[in-house]
Symmetry: C2
Subunit: 206 residues, 2 copies
């Protein structure tokens, strides 16, 4: 079982095992239900522990939430980001356009879901995502939400997997009062990705 | 043809197209001859132009040649590095253990090949690799060589593709006089990899 290998790995090894398993998965199927069903326990194993995220990908900004790229599949079949919330930071209502898995690594976030109702955006419930929990998103089932750090006094961090190079997806944000749509392409906060592939010390130790 | 897409792409796009094509290739075959045969024209297209290597991966060190990781496949089926030579820098005689493609991006390097002969290492010819040229390596055909910057007054850079996470491969270096073997695991010079996946500006421009 890959999930138990992720659970038992040393430090950053768990992220490498996770990325290997995701790469194997997207090479085997394009079926969204299968990707979400098989990806979810992998991400759950990854966010069940909080000893592996490189410090550079865990740093909040004083003004805005930060989306750090951890890995992009070269065929853009999936990407993995850390989402770092400073105290009280929040997103507007937004869509995703592709499947997603959100795993809470540290702290908590509150999510409010929306649907279109008679030309307006209507809230349809909200929930708290706590450390260790994972939720899935699909445009087929409605993927409009607004998310916020549930804490006003500390950083929260979630790890997201999306079915594309998410920073380059043409998406939308919405005005809650009018439903007006604005184009949104997130990009990434980081111009450098932590090099998690240098396993040379472990190989030298044998 | 992917090679012509690499040739015609804008700036760093050519590296993304190359990595996508290599990912597709290792997903399709494990046959070494096929990997080398199909990989070679892709790398040739990439090193036919010198407008795409991120500056951080093109910086020499004053003392030693530098191997910068540009991309590691999460299943470790291949990795791509830039090899940056300061003036006059050189490697010892070494092996690789996996297939490799070496493409000369900037400047030139001189390669001297070796074979085992009656318990000693014997040189079997040397050649110059000039900008735009690509050579292939295979342990099946003998892969012992010593390489040096062909220039004593400037930086040279080659781009290498290997059939593994090359920084973590247990390899060997050899004493040319005695043939004595020493274990060698290269690691990587860089703790951060340039994030080449932020295509958001281009998507916003439409
Ligand atoms: Fe979201
Ligand atoms: Fe070599
Ligand atoms: Mg850096």
């Amino acid at each position: 079982m890959t999930a138990s290998r992720i659970a038992e790995a040393e430090g950053t090894d768990c992220l490498r095992i996770f990325l290997a398993a995701m790469t194997e998965l997207v090479g085997r199927t394009e079926d969204e239900d299968c990707l979400l069903r098989e990806g979810k326990p992998l991400l759950a194993a990854l966010v069940a522990r909080d000893d592996w995220l490189p410090a550079a990908a865990a740093t909040p900004d004083s003004q805005h939430y930060q989306q750090h790229l951890l890995h992009c599949d070269p065929l853009e079949r999936f990407s993995v980001v850390s989402f770092v919330w400073g105290p009280g930071q929040a997103t507007p209502i937004h869509d995703h356009g592709v499947w997603g898995l959100v795993g809470m690594l540290r702290g908590a976030e509150s999510c409010r879901n929306y649907v279109w109702h008679e030309g307006s955006l209507a809230p349809v419930g909200s929930h708290l995502l706590r450390a260790g929990q994972v939720l899935s998103l699909s445009p087929r089932h409605g993927d409009l939400h607004a998310v916020a750090n549930a804490h006003s006094d500390r950083t929260s961090i979630s790890v997201h997997v999306y079915g594309a190079n998410i920073g380059a997806v043409a998406r939308s944000v919405f005005d809650p009062a009018t439903g007006a749509r604005k184009p949104f392409v997130s990009g990434y906060a980081n111009s450098d990705i932590p090099n998690i592939w240098d396993r040379s010390e472990a190989v030298r130790r044998g």
